[in-house]
């Protein structure tokens, strides 16, 4: 895509066996790019082994925010060929690509050969042997730095920063490795130059993963109690929260399972402390009954679901958007609740923070959808702005007389008494109840409480945050998407615009309650609608059909994980259609 708006980015894949240190090298590369004033991201993919085994790091760098992987990699460095066929589909190469590989690793696999990429053997291992304490990933890093024109000073200062705790020896060995790598490919010159800014951006930039961002969004929103049960790929949300909550006077407790973690979070919230848990598909399935309890007892709670391939244990380490159905429809009974989706790594922060605010304001359940490709991707971004969304619960203050916890109000929200408040003593209940909270099986109570729980989420004013809309004002085609598919869709739309097509992108952040009127305004005038999602059964398309009026001409680009949607696929669909 030489004439594309994103052609100023450089994409690199690093693969190798566990010991090769590809993730470390990828991280250093990203950090060095950041030091040079660039933005970028690093996604990772790993095999099924717990430790060791093959892994891959995918780095993309450029002068503006990078939200997704490109169509093809400019450079693939293979430290060895261990199980590379497992990754081959995730590493699209083309005749413009360069593959750096170690001749000692044996013959180049057919899948790589067939891509037409230029294959350049570099004796990475042999070069490493000559360096006392040398590591092969540093030699590879040096080669990459040279091939993309990363200034020597930038690399050196990055190494110094990252390795400052490892001691002089380690730093010396790493620098020597990088030098050896640079020299080994010096003759090739720069094959794919980074677009370096004259001076680094003046804005404060962060290095953050989606899972860390979700954690940070939670605490910005006011969450101070978290219950946790580890599960890939959500664990890092919890691992980030544990020490950081502690620092600010909050608490994370490790539960015995997800049945416990959701209930602990509900208990914490009943106690008046904004509470959250994070999980992935299997854990979400276990939590469902109790999520219904939170909703019915009107005890606010937020669950972050970092999606992975499903169903069942599925593909724990890889991304998919297929928990959409369970998030929307997984509760028994008529159970209106809030479902949001983060549309980028950085947006995991805002969306989580906003969802905490929504759940607390409406005393209901907020389910945040993220996924592996957002959660475990590290990105260099401008510091996410401070947003005013905080947990602000409508509480019942003493003195209270004849307190009615579930009073039927116009807004649907009733003041909640927090333990410690005299006169507010009530029993939160998952049994249907009367306005004072007594169990009731009567039609009127059921009707009134069902209406109330629905009303509060329908009447809430969600503002502009329900979706992120980009592109043409009077579009011919609207692309509707959500979550991690947003990045590639936006890139394709930008390209299409450069081609002269009129395209608008509507990325839904608020999936439930459906914002029907706003949606229909957003797509007004467009004859064509393209739906893009990473599911096998077109879950998102079916959801759109159920809740919104769509134009007659609708096409769907869908695919299950683990392969991400690529901008080029979206672009070709747009081109075909015009």
């Amino acid at each position: 895509m030489s004439n594309s708006p994103q052609s100023d980015t450089v994409s690199i894949a690093l693969t190798g066996a566990g010991g090769a240190g590809v993730v470390t090298a990828g991280q250093m590369l990203l950090e060095a790019a950041a030091t040079a004033g660039l933005y970028g991201l690093m996604a990772r993919s790993s095999g099924p082994q717990i430790r060791g085994g093959e892994s891959a790091a995918f780095v993309r760098m450029g002068p503006r925010t990078v939200t997704n992987l490109a169509d093809a990699f400019d450079i693939h460095i293979a430290f060895d060929w261990l199980n590379v066929e497992r990754f081959a589909a995730e590493i699209p190469l083309d005749p413009h690509s360069v593959v750096i590989c170690d001749p000692s690793a044996g013959a180049v696999p057919e899948v790589i050969e067939n891509s037409g990429a230029r294959i350049v053997p570099v004796p990475l291992k042999d070069l490493t042997k000559e360096i006392p304490g040398g590591r092969v990933n540093m030699v590879g890093l040096g080669a990459l730095a040279n091939l993309i024109g990363l200034p020597e000073g930038t690399m050196a200062s990055t190494l110094k920063k990252i390795l400052r705790r490892k001691g002089e020896e380690a730093l010396k060995a790493s620098n020597a490795g990088v030098q050896a790598g640079r020299q080994a490919v010096a003759e090739m010159g720069v094959v794919r130059a980074l677009t370096l800014p004259d001076k680094p951006p003046q804005t404060e930039r962060w290095s953050i993963t989606g899972n860390e961002a979700a954690g940070m969004g939670a605490v910005r929103g006011g969450v101070r109690f978290v219950a946790a049960y580890p599960i890939t790929p959500a664990t890092e949300v919890l691992e980030w929260l544990a020490p950081n909550l502690e620092k600010i006077g909050g608490l994370l407790v490790q539960a015995e399972d997800e049945l416990a973690s959701i209930n602990m979070a509900i208990g914490g919230s009943f106690g008046g402390v904004p509470s959250l848990t994070a999980t992935s598909g299997p854990g979400l399935a276990l939590m469902m009954e109790s999520i219904g309890l939170a909703l019915t007892s009107e005890t606010p709670v937020v669950v972050v679901d970092v999606m992975r391939g499903g169903p069942s244990t599925g593909i724990p380490t890889k991304s998919e958007q297929s928990d959409l159905n369970i998030a929307l429809y997984g509760l028994h009974g008529d159970a209106p609740h809030i479902v949001t989706a983060a549309n980028s790594v950085a947006d995991c922060l805002f969306t989580t923070q906003w969802t905490v605010h929504l759940a607390e304001a409406m005393q209901t359940v907020g389910l945040v959808l993220s996924d592996q490709s957002l959660g475990q991707t590290r990105t260099i971004v401008d510091r996410p702005a401070d947003e005013p969304f905080q947990a602000q619960r409508l509480v019942a203050e003493a003195p209270l007389e004849n307190y009615r916890r579930y009073a039927v109000t116009d807004s649907g929200v009733s003041p909640m008494a927090i333990p410690g408040t005299p006169g507010g003593e009530y029993v939160a209940d998952g049994l249907e109840h009367s306005p004072i909270g007594r169990p009731s099986s009567q039609t009127e109570d059921h009707m009134a409480q069902l209406d109330k729980r629905l009303r509060k989420i329908l009447l809430h004013e969600y503002g502009d945050h329900w979706a992120e809309i980009t592109g043409a004002d009077a579009p011919e085609t609207v692309i509707v998407t959500f979550g991690s598919s947003t990045g590639p869709v936006r890139e394709a739309a930008e390209e299409a615009t450069a081609w002269g097509l009129k395209v608008k992108v509507v990325s839904l952040r608020l999936l439930m309650p459906a914002q029907t009127t706003k949606f229909e305004e957003a797509i007004a005038g467009a004859d064509r609608l393209l739906v893009v999602e990473q599911t096998h059964s077109r879950q998102f398309y079916r959801y759109l059909r159920a809740y919104y009026d769509l134009p007659r001409d609708v096409r769907v680009l869908n695919r299950p994980g683990p392969l991400p949607i690529r901008p080029g696929e979206v672009l070709s669909m747009l081109k075909e259609w015009s």
Partner: protein
Amino acid sequence: MDGAQTDEKLTAKQYKSDYRPVWCPGCGDFSVLSAITKAMAELQLKREDTAVISGIGCSSRIPAYTSVYGFHGVHGRALALATGVKLARPELTVIVTGGDGDGFSIGGNHFLHACRRNVDLTYVVMDNQVYGMTKGQASPTTASEWEGSKLTPHGTGVNPFQPLAVALAAGANFIGRQFSGDPNACAKLIAEAIQHPGFSFVQILSPCVTFRPEQREWKQTVHTAPVEPTSDPGRAGKRLMSDDGLNMGVLYVGGRPVFQPPEGTGATLADIEQKFTL
């Protein structure tokens, strides 16, 4: 309930709500409710600072019959819910109530981990060796040869669960047993359990007169444990493993440190954000 706060002592009755229990006449749970409210009066717990948490079952209905804060959650998860309440609000007195099915079957895993975790909770299980609410099926504590349920017409053929021995092995810090037929003794035991730091487990034999009418005989068969409470887990273990299930009293009083959330460092959000800044 009368909301006005006075300096006068609250009576047991004032810890009851005016809501009429759904229980069958003669159900042991009536006495347990009385015992719990007596214990509250004995300790003069502030109603607004007390929470009773339960799951689902006849016995789990108790929160609504008290005048303190309460949470009637889902089946089997009361201990997890209560753990969240107590950790988020350590100054509250948190009492967990429920049945043997709720606590040892569907909630069995939480029972083990609540004992281990040793959060300062008091867990009162009304054990009637049956699922009352769902009309009479065998529970984990039902004798293996009991043929009273259509679900297991030949008996369960499965060894009954030993809640006290399991609680001890899992690390509970206080273990006692009483019979609902002696509400004063129950109240005393519950009050002691509330005062004991850490996770306290109280089993109350509470007859289900509807599905296990033979349990009325407990009145004759229960007996005060012929031993002093011990703080030696070895001795307590021996005692509990050879126990006839009808020994009443405090059977173990441990001194394990209570689960303590860490102290904050006074950091601000800006401090923790710093780590992300390039």
